[in-house]
């Protein structure tokens, strides 16, 4: 063992394992798609009309259906975690041994900063809404853009603390595109769809890129 141990780097390398193979990005991208599609439908005229009608005509069934959708989401989230663990155990980490990644992979200061940015922009939007005079949909778009910017800050922070350039790119691209989304004259529902499209695409691209690199690295190691 190297006596001049860079222990900070060792800790960082191991924290990075959770994100190196891109599987987490693919999982988060799928969850983003699911959540934003649900939000886009829920806040669309068709969705709101359907929901109102369903509440009047079939109240119990509506609540059961909503609980079912929520249960599906939770199941997909936990199921995909188990699937990722399985893939890593059987393929990516086969000879390396196994770890259980940290439950919270984000540094506290990153979470606090991202939550603060989201809250400040949201409170500002709500203040404008209550004050009146501004275009309602633009204010609602501000709240959606705020969640995109906060997500961007989270990825930037993770990229910085883990020294993962891929996440720096993800954070900058996602954050900037979320700001652009604010200036696009979309409906509230359309903006949710836009946000979903931005983050799903970016995380999918990031995940596939990392996955391809991991697979190539494994193939080279097996043949070398």
């Amino acid at each position: 063992m190297d006596q001049r141990l860079d222990f900070e780097e060792l800790t960082r390398q191991i924290r990075r394992l959770e994100f190196d193979d891109g599987l987490t990005d693919l999982q988060v991208s799928a969850l983003f798609l699911f959540m934003n599609l649900a939000a886009a439908f829920g806040f669309s005229t068709a969705g709101l009309t359907w929901f109102a009608k369903a509440l009047i005509l079939q109240r119990e069934i509506t609540f059961i259906a909503l609980a079912g959708i929520f249960a599906c989401f939770v199941l997909v989230a936990f199921g995909s975690r188990r699937l990722i663990a399985r893939v890593r155990r059987d393929y990516f980490w086969k000879d390396r041994g196994e770890i259980v990644p940290l439950h919270v992979g984000v540094d506290r200061w990153v979470s606090v900063l991202s939550a603060a940015v989201f809250l400040i922009l949201t409170i500002f939007g709500l203040w404008l809404l209550l004050r009146g005079g501004s275009e309602d949909e633009a204010i609602l778009r501000l709240i959606i853009a705020a969640s995109g910017v906060a997500t961007g800050i989270t990825y930037l922070g993770m990229g910085r603390s883990l020294r993962l350039n891929r996440y720096l790119c993800v954070g900058i691209a996602g954050g900037l595109l979320s700001v652009v989304l604010f200036f696009v004259p979309l409906t509230y529902s359309g903006s949710w769809l836009g946000l979903g499209a931005i983050w799903t695409t970016i995380l999918l691209a990031s995940g596939l890129y990392a996955l391809r690199r991991t697979r190539r690295g494994l193939a080279e190691a097996n043949h070398g």
Partner: protein
């Protein structure tokens, strides 16, 4: 008076290359198995085993022996006490390095 701790006053259980490597590796995850620690720290089996026992004795790590399928598996986890001690060690170490003007 200097506002840093001298290395001679660092936690001896952590300020030793082999144990520092083990704890630094465990700090990056919730838990790791024995094979992973062997690969990550590049320590031999005997030394790893001996130092893990020492860390377990002071309550810095928790060792769980079990099976994964039919294969025996040893899982090691940094306890809350161990994590706190490592955080404090990192703080002292950084302060000391800063004070001597090296990176």
């Amino acid at each position: 008076m200097a506002d840093f701790t001298l290395p001679s006053k660092f936690d001896r259980m952590i300020h030793q290359p082999v144990r520092l490597a083990i704890i630094a590796a465990l700090a990056g995850c919730e838990s790791a198995d024995f094979t992973f620690l062997l690969n990550a720290t590049e320590i031999n089996k005997g030394t790893l085993s001996k130092n893990l026992s020492a860390l377990e004795e002071v309550g810095y790590v928790e060792i769980t022996k079990g099976y994964k399928g039919k294969i025996p598996n040893t899982s090691v986890k940094l306890t809350a006490k161990g994590r706190r001690a490592f955080t404090q060690y990192r703080r002292q170490y950084r302060r000391f390095i800063d004070s001597v003007g090296e990176k």
